[in-house]
Amino acid sequence: MNHLMRWHRPELSDWLGFGRLTDLRDEIDRLFESPLVELARGSRLLSGWTPALDVYEDRDNVNVRVELPGMKKEDIGLSLHDGSLSISGERKSEEKFQDAEVSRSERFFGRFQRTITLPTPVVSEKVKADYKDGILTVTLPKAEEAKPKRIDVNVN
């Protein structure tokens, strides 16, 4: 069964204006080194920061996993509205490196936002989120009516 993702234009982050300090050739090399699934998200050169996102579903929960390395918990925003989960935030670059010369800059900084349509209704009051090793895991318990149920067949 296909679940359509509501496509949300990724926000452009500040770095675009400053110019990234890697060559176009490096960028192309990285496209070849990256797994093919990254190409589907569009070239990093143009789309700003689009963190990788996975959605899994088991009998009781919908689990969403987002790769957000190097963030502070308080800079991550989550909201649930109308069957869609929105994850947004801002990653700030560290102040202490301002005096140094940048030799290579491949990491993204700035704002991001991803919105996904959930495959089933969920109980919003019971949603839990956990941030560990740079991965945000959101556990959304399914609403009772969405869970598979046995229907007993009575034979008369």
Binding site: R30, V62, G70, E101, I135
Partner: protein
């Protein structure tokens, strides 16, 4: 170029696992270099930083925890991270330090004292 990235002809395989290259930021000051590598899902236990001559290799093993159930949509990859760097000879390799926090590895590579600019007193 000083802390350069070694280009590999094709992704290396190790026991049939392909590796993916983590994005890095490299900063240079008169005291040394700082390298940040993004490896979500990697913690201290999964990290290996090795030095061989002037070559430094970073490997990050991801936690192999795929949530149970059916995959509805997947963008992340399951491969581990690996990247090789050619180090500036000015770096004091005995003083390299590493720490990892929320999937970001920060390596501090100080330059040797003798290569730093120094004033020489005139008698």
């Amino acid at each position: 170029m000083n802390v350069t990235v070694k280009k590999e002809a094709r992704p290396e395989t190790d026991h049939g696992t392909e590796f993916v290259s983590p994005p890095v930021n490299i900063f240079e000051s008169k005291d040394g270099y700082v390298l940040e590598a993004e490896m979500p899902g990697v913690n201290k236990e999964g990290l290996e930083v090795t030095l061989e001559g002037s070559e430094m290799t970073i490997v990050g093993h991801r936690r192999a925890e795929t949530p149970a159930g059916e995959t509805v949509f997947r963008e992340s990859h399951l491969a581990d991270f690996r990247r090789v760097f050619e180090l500036d000879p000015a770096i004091d390799t005995g003083k390299i330090s590493a720490r990892i926090d929320q999937g970001v590895l920060t390596l501090t590579l100080p330059k040797s004292e003798k290569v730093k600019p120094r004033r020489i007193a005139v008698e």
